[in-house]
């Protein structure tokens, strides 16, 4: 197994290199000089030149790239001009905020969607199945920002049950349980939007893969052995339906985080998506590069997890 993981990691190296080149290029072709915006307009030309050289911007592009990679590997992503702090000091706290939101969604969505999907497949065209089919259709067709706004409109502005936005009540100095409850209250609406969206596609996915599996010959074999329907469905059929679901699990993590870009904007949730947008809007290059890199690495880790998960649940994958 370790060798398999190692092989997958080696396989990823060229991908990582190309991705980093892409990110670097994207940032480099961005119009506007990377220092221009943030320099004191009263600087003389010499001072500007000195600043350029200090930042290594006079060097040839490949050298700049190598420097950037070298620094990144050491965990030095430069200074965020927007926050006036080293990038590596700000990103983790925002990632943590996004993570807190997503972890709830992830757990809820998976715990709910798998049993629902199975029931829908087993009782195809039943009332339950029809309900969830319509639900899924709505869920995948509903733009998350619009859904978020609707929830804010009804539950925050009209009914006042939940705060409109943010992560905690501003200016309050709540502590302990009260603070946690306050944060949970802020989390309800964005988490609802993300959960429903996730649930919609996960239920659909589980249902489809389960429907595929229960038609298979080995399910009939299992029945012919005298196993109960429960064992047939949950042991024989589900173990097979799990294969594509495990793959999806890997893709889901990065998808959740990147989907949160929109939702964090709608709910002003100070997460990684928010600072990415801020970085773009304020041309904070170091921060832009770091956040993009974060998303790309997250996707790669997700893919790797999917591969590993698949190798664990499917004996047909040759691990050696």
């Amino acid at each position: 197994m370790l060798r398999y993981i190692a092989r997958r990691l080696v396989h990823m190296i060229p991908v990582v290199i190309i991705i980093s080149i892409c990110i670097f290029t994207i940032i480099k072709i961005t119009p506007g000089s990377p220092v221009g915006l943030n320099l004191d307009p009263n600087m003389t030309a010499e001072q500007k030149q000195a600043e350029y050289e200090r930042l290594g911007l006079h060097l040839p592009l490949p050298v700049q790239y190598a420097n950037w990679v070298g620094r990144s590997l050491r965990g030095d992503f430069g200074i965020s001009t927007l926050y006036n702090q080293p990038v590596k000091d700000i990103v983790p706290s925002f990632v943590w905020n996004s993570f807190r939101l997503n972890v709830f969604v992830f757990i809820f969505a998976f715990l709910l969607s798998i049993p629902i999907g199975i029931v829908c497949a087993v009782k195809q065209y039943s009332l339950t199945d029809n309900f969830w089919t319509v639900f899924s259709l709505f869920g995948i067709s509903m733009p998350s920002f619009f859904f978020g706004l609707l929830l804010i409109f009804f539950f925050a502005t009209k009914l006042g049950w939940f705060p409109i936005s943010g992560m905690e009540t501003a200016g309050s100095n709540l502590t302990g349980i009260a603070s946690i409850l306050d944060q949970l209250r802020h989390m309800v609406l964005p988490a609802t939007v993300l959960t429903i969206a996730s649930l919609a596609s996960l239920v659909r996915y589980t249902r489809t893969s389960m429907l595929d599996v229960i038609k298979q010959d080995y399910v009939r074999t299992a029945r012919s052995k005298g196993l109960t329907e429960k064992v047939v469905i949950y042991r024989h059929a589900f173990r097979n339906a799990l294969l594509p679901i495990v793959t999806l699990l890997g893709f889901w993590v990065p998808l959740l985080f990147s989907g949160a870009v929109i939702l964090e904007t709608v709910f002003r949730w100070p997460g990684i998506g928010q600072i990415m947008l801020n970085a773009i809007n304020w041309r904070d290059y170091n921060l832009m590069m770091a956040t993009l890199l974060f998303f790309a690495v997250l996707t790669l880790i997700g893919n790797l997890l999917a591969d590993i998960g698949y190798a664990i649940v499917d004996p047909r994958i040759k691990v050696e």
Partner: protein, 326 residues
């Protein structure tokens, strides 16, 4: 007590589709004696497989439904027992082998797990006992390295091996009846012979009755004691195997026999039955075989014949054949 392990009476299994009712099995009668092999022959789509699945109530419902009839297993009507009872019979007293060895084993469980499952369920064996028994069964079907195979996955085995595993699995609980639905059709000819031999061997050893479904008359000749021939969901002829081959009465049976190559007769050309199996949604009037029958008379186009015993043990459902005998 009767000597029949299974008696099927007037079995009717229909499928209800958007485009109408398909009478896949329409009033089938047969019985199997302890330790004997009953062969069921017919072209694809004649209801053989549905008959076998109906015995264990494995028909997917909807769209299928067993409409009428009795399936008496040692005197008990399996169509009337509770779900729990039928489950205790499946895999224990009656087990099944399917046509597709490649897809009939679950790809994510080891061979051992799949054999042990029924043993632990029906015979209440412990994990260890079941494993021992599984290895024993694998040896019994002539798979070498049984101790190793038991922990392997189906994809590591060839088709013939998998079918042997299926046989080992189905015989693990020493069933009184084994239903084998085209067990060798998907296999190479040489492998076919080996698998059939194993089945015959085990039948003797374990005194298991076999219900063998096939379209291959060669297999029937080798394995069966008694044969029924099915056409469009009905039994058209029934006889002991020797009698059927020597003295076929139904034109359809004759057609099937003639379409088999024979070295002895050295025929110029293989004969085939003209036409094809009718669409089950648009069955012809009268005898279902009449449009393809060389001997059809007016009566065949108007009325449906019934199964009549013409000589002891030999039944046929054909006006022409019955008249001949009179």
């Amino acid at each position: 007590m009767s000597d029949k392990v299974l008696e099927v009476k007037n079995l009717k299994t229909y499928f209800y589709t958007d485009k109408g009712v398909v009478k896949a099995v329409d009033g089938v009668d047969f019985s199997i004696e302890y330790g004997k092999t009953l062969g069921i022959v017919g072209e694809s789509g004649c209801g053989k497989s549905i008959t076998s699945m109906s015995v264990l109530r494995l028909i997917p419902t909807p769209p299928g439904k067993i409409e009428d009839g009795e399936v008496l297993f040692e005197g008990r009507d399996l169509l009337k027992v509770s779900d729990k009872e039928i489950r205790s019979i499946r895999g224990n007293d009656i087990s099944m082998i399917f046509q597709e060895p490649m897809t009939s084993l679950n790809p994510v469980f080891t061979i051992g797990d799949q054999i042990m499952e029924a043993l632990m369920l029906h015979q209440k064996l412990t994990d260890e006992e079941a494993r021992k028994k599984a290895i024993e069964m694998i040896k019994l079907v002539n798979i070498p390295r049984a101790e190793k195979i038991v922990d392997e996955y189906p994809h590591q085995l060839s088709g013939g091996m998998r079918q042997r595993v299926m046989i080992a699995m189905s015989l693990a609980c020493m069933p009184k009846l084994l239903i084998a639905d085209e067990p060798t059709t998907a296999l190479d000819v040489t492998i076919q012979a080996q698998v059939l031999e194993i089945m015959n061997d085990l039948k003797e050893k374990l005194n298991t009755a076999i219900m063998l479904i096939t379209h291959d008359l060669g297999v029937i000749a080798e394995m069966a004691d008694h044969v029924i021939v099915m056409y469009c969901g009905k039994v058209v002829e029934e006889a002991p195997v020797q009698e059927l081959f020597d003295n076929p009465k139904h034109p359809y049976t004759m057609g099937l026999l003639n379409s088999k190559p024979s070295i002895i007769e050295n025929k110029e050309r293989l004969e085939s039955i003209e036409g094809s199996v009718p669409n089950p949604k648009f069955l012809p009037k009268g005898c279902y075989f009449n449009p393809r029958c060389k001997f059809a008379i007016e009566k065949c186009r108007q009325e449906q014949p019934t199964l009549e015993e013409i000589t002891p043990g030999h039944k046929v459902s054909c006006f022409v054949a019955c008249k001949e005998v009179e």
